[in-house]
């Protein structure tokens, strides 16, 4: 059904001889073509994204980096994919990007430590799709300090097994990934959350989200408030709202639905 999305009956109408005049046949043709395209995407109706829908730059970079549809001569910024996902990503034929549900955030700023809970809604992942890898991408904004040398922050990524029974209690968590980073750099960090996300997609009732803990350096020239701004885990930690849409944390899943070849080597698959 995917071969040649143009319905047979009307192909020659839309080739060299130009468009037919009969409005009706145009609409029939387009409706038939659209239904084929939507069913191929597994969509029931044509999506109507709102103006506020955001396409993360990383997804665009992945598309341009590996798609044969794109003019490879154009030099583009290259996002760095997490090493831990490269192998699984090379086998995936579907890559999905998710932003967390801000309504379920739980930001807490204690002395020397900032924690934030993220909940990602994965119900849009079809059951037949097997998630083979997932990365949580978090943006770090350079902190300028008088001393000039950047302090070191420890970023810990936990899976929440059971939410905190009360605000005074701690949730039950499991450490998924950790990293020591210097706050004089600006870049994206990629953390391996594949083991948790793969299970959540299969059994959504296990999905209690991810807890990100940032331990700030004790001895550092920068103020506590400036340090909290380094790791972009919440909209409220920053004054400029505009950058949040592209700098907010992004969960990227790599999956395969059992049809066709991998995205990231489309050109090599050409027969």
């Amino acid at each position: 059904g995917a071969v040649g999305l143009i319905p047979d009956i009307d192909r020659r109408k839309y080739s060299d001889s130009g468009r037919q005049t009969a409005e009706r046949s145009d609409m029939n043709f387009l409706n038939a073509f659209e239904q084929r395209l939507l069913s191929m995407f597994g969509l029931k109706r044509r999506p109507t994204p709102s103006a506020s829908a955001v396409v993360p730059q990383y997804m665009l970079d992945l598309y341009h980096m590996h798609s044969e549809n794109d003019d490879l001569n154009i030099r583009r910024p290259r996002s760095t994919m997490g090493k831990h996902v490269e192998r699984a990503a090379s086998r995936a034929n579907t890559i999905r990007g998710f932003h967390h549900e801000e309504a379920f955030e739980a930001l807490s700023s204690l002395k020397g430590k900032t924690t934030q809970q993220f909940f990602f809604n994965l119900t849009s992942v079809p059951v037949e799709e097997l998630i083979t890898a997932a990365e949580l991408r978090i943006f770090r904004d350079q902190v300028l300090s008088e001393a000039g040398t950047g302090g070191f922050h420890r970023i810990n990524i936990y899976e929440v097994f059971r939410p905190a029974p009360a605000t005074s209690k701690e949730p039950l968590t499991r450490l998924l990934d950790t990293r020591l980073v210097q706050d004089s750099h600006t870049r994206w960090e990629s953390f391996d959350v594949g083991s948790a996300v793969g299970r959540w997609a299969r059994e959504s009732h296990h999905n209690h989200g991810i807890l990100v803990e940032v331990l700030h350096p004790k001895e550092s020239g920068a103020s506590e408030e400036a340090q909290r701004k380094h790791v972009r885990v919440s909209r409220s930690l920053h004054s400029d709202e505009d950058s949040w849409a592209q700098a907010r944390p992004l969960l990227v899943t790599y999956s395969h639905d059992g049809q066709g070849s991998a995205v990231l080597h489309a050109n090599r698959e050409k027969r």
Binding site: A2, V3, G4, L5, I6, R11, R12, Y14, S15, D16, L30, F33, E34, L37, M40, F41, L43, K44, R45, R46, P47, T48, P49, S50, A53, V55, P56, M59, L60, L62, Y63, H64, H66, S67, E68, N69, D70, N93, T94, I95, R96, G97, F98, N121, S124, Q259, G260, S261, A262, V263, A266, E269, K270, R271
Partner: protein
């Protein structure tokens, strides 16, 4: 330089099976709201006659074997069809109905070659 007096060669009205270009520009059909990239889709399609297995011009010789072959063709047997014989995938970046961004590879989307089958 066309030679004087020679009739221009009559273009064969029936073209044999081959691949024809066909580009669907997603903005023409309003899909660029949800398909982020590429901006359009090189669909191509196969179209043309399949004189297979015997081409008509073979009938111009009176050689016994050729005449036997040409006249023994059973006209009730349907002719071969002009269909895609080589295909390649494309990647599409789009927003689904939940406004989630998806990059997906779709098999057999671009017709690379056609043939009579």
């Amino acid at each position: 330089q066309a030679r004087r007096g020679q009739k221009p060669r009559r273009k064969n009205p029936r073209t044999n099976c081959r691949r024809h270009a066909l580009y669907v520009d997603f903005s023409d059909v309003g899909w660029n709201e949800w398909i982020v990239a590429p901006p359009g889709y090189h669909a191509f399609y196969c179209h043309g006659e399949c004189p297979f297995p015997l081409s008509d011009h073979l009938n111009s010789t009176n050689h016994a074997i050729v005449q036997t072959l040409v006249n023994s063709v059973n006209s009730n047997i349907p002719r071969a069809c002009c269909v895609p014989t080589e295909l390649s995938p494309i990647s599409l970046l789009y927003l689904d109905e939940h406004e989630k961004v998806i990059l997906k590879n779709y098999q057999d989307m671009v017709v690379e070659g056609c043939g009579c089958r």
